[in-house]
Symmetry: C2
Subunit: 205 residues, 2 copies
Amino acid sequence: MIKKNIQRIIQYRMCLLKFQNLGFEKIFSYTLAQEIGVSPEQVRKDFSQFHLRGNKKAGYLIQDILDQINDLLHKEDIHKIIMVGLGNIGQALIKYKGFANRNMQLVAGFDIDPAKLKKTCRIPTFHSKEIPAVVKKENVRLGIIAVPEAAAQEACNTLIEAGIKGILNFAPVMLKTPPDVVVQNISVCGELEALVYVTEKDKQK
Amino acid sequence: MIKKNIQRIIQYRMCLLKFQNLGFEKIFSYTLAQEIGVSPEQVRKDFSQFHLRGNKKAGYLIQDILDQINDLLHKEDIHKIIMVGLGNIGQALIKYKGFANRNMQLVAGFDIDPAKLKKTCRIPTFHSKEIPAVVKKENVRLGIIAVPEAAAQEACNTLIEAGIKGILNFAPVMLKTPPDVVVQNISVCGELEALVYVTEKDKQK
DNA sequence: ATTAAATTGTTAATTTATAAACAAAAAGAT
DNA sequence: ATCTTTTTGTTTATAAATTAACAATTTAAT
C-alpha cells in the first residue's frame, strides 16, 4: 500500500498552489495543517521526511517547496495514461479536463466492444488487442481499468504484459499483479458503505 | 479518518459473496487473505475485532459471516444518496447500475446550471436550491459532491445544513465540516500522482 | 481410543504512524 | 545589544496497525 505521507505531500501541493494563486509567497505549517485537516507537527514531520526545509520564524517559501515537491512527483514529465473500458466511468474520465494541469495525459482508450469505439472522442480509441502496440509506441507506464468486474483481471493481465507499471482500478475486485506492478483501487460503493458504517455508528451516540 | 479494519470488512464481504456465488459454503482465513492481498492473521484479527466467529478446523461459514457483516454495514436498509453536480462524474454515477445490489440508491441529482437539468435521466434532477426539501422529504443521510473545485465548499455547506451526515467528495479540496459530518475524498489525479511516485521509485532499483 | 494435522482465536511482539515536547534559530521589540 | 516571541525541525513518547506466536479445538486417520 502507498504510504500516507506521500499522499499528504500530494495534498500539500494542491494547497500550496491554491495559496500561491491567492498571492501568498510564504506559508506556515499551521496554515497548511488547518487546510488539510492535520496537525502542524504532522506537516513539519512530513516535510522533514522529504527534506523540505523552511525558515525559522518565517515559515515556508511556497515556490521553493513546490519546486521540490514537483521534483518528488516527477512533474517535469508529462505522464501518459491509457484506459481500458469505455463505459460510464471511462467516458467521464475521457471528458475530464483536469488531467492536463496536473501533468497527466490520457493518450488512448480501449474496449473490446466495437460499439463503444464508435463514439467520437477527445482521444483516440482502439480495440483492446491494440494495447501492447500503443503502450510500446507511446511508452506508457500507467493504466486505468474501468471495465466490468468480470473482465478486470484479464484487462489487468494485458496491461502487465504490455509493460504497464501502475494501475488505477475502478473494478470491484482485487487484481493479482507481480510485485513490480502497483495497483490503486477506487470503489465508490465501498466508500459509501464505509460512510454508512461511521455515520450510523455516530447516530447511536 | 475511517479505520482500515472496516474498509477490509467491506472487501471481505465482496469476496465472500463471490465465493458464495461460486457455490462454496465455507472458507478459510487463508483463502480470504490471498484474495484480498493480506495475511491470514489479519483476516482472523479483523474478524475477531468484529466478533465474527468461525469453526476450528472447519473455517468460516460464508452465509453466517455475511449475515453478520450485513448487520454491521446496515444492509437491512436501502441507503438513499443525493448527488450535487451533474457534470462528467455526476452523469457517470447516474448511469451506474451497481448501486442497487449494494443496497444503495441514488434518489436525486442537483445542479445550479439549468442546462444540466434538462438531460433525460434515470433519476429526478433539481436545482440545487431544492436540496433541503428533498433531503428532508426522502430522509437522506448521504451525499456525493461532484461539482467543480470552486463550488465544492458551498455545496458541502448546503448538504450539511440540510442534514446530510456522510459526504463522498470528488472535488480536489478538503471540505470543512463539523465533527458529526464525515467526508471521504476520491481524487483520481491524486491516486495517479501517487502511482507515478511509487512506480518511478521502483524504477530506480 | 489415540494420535496427528489443520485451523481458529487470542495474546504478545514488532513495526508504523501520529502526537507531544523541546531545543535552535530568526525576527522584532525594548 | 539583549530579551522576547514565533516558528521550524528533531527527538522522544504515545497510539495504532500489523505480524508473529501459540494455545485450544475440531476433524480425520491409524
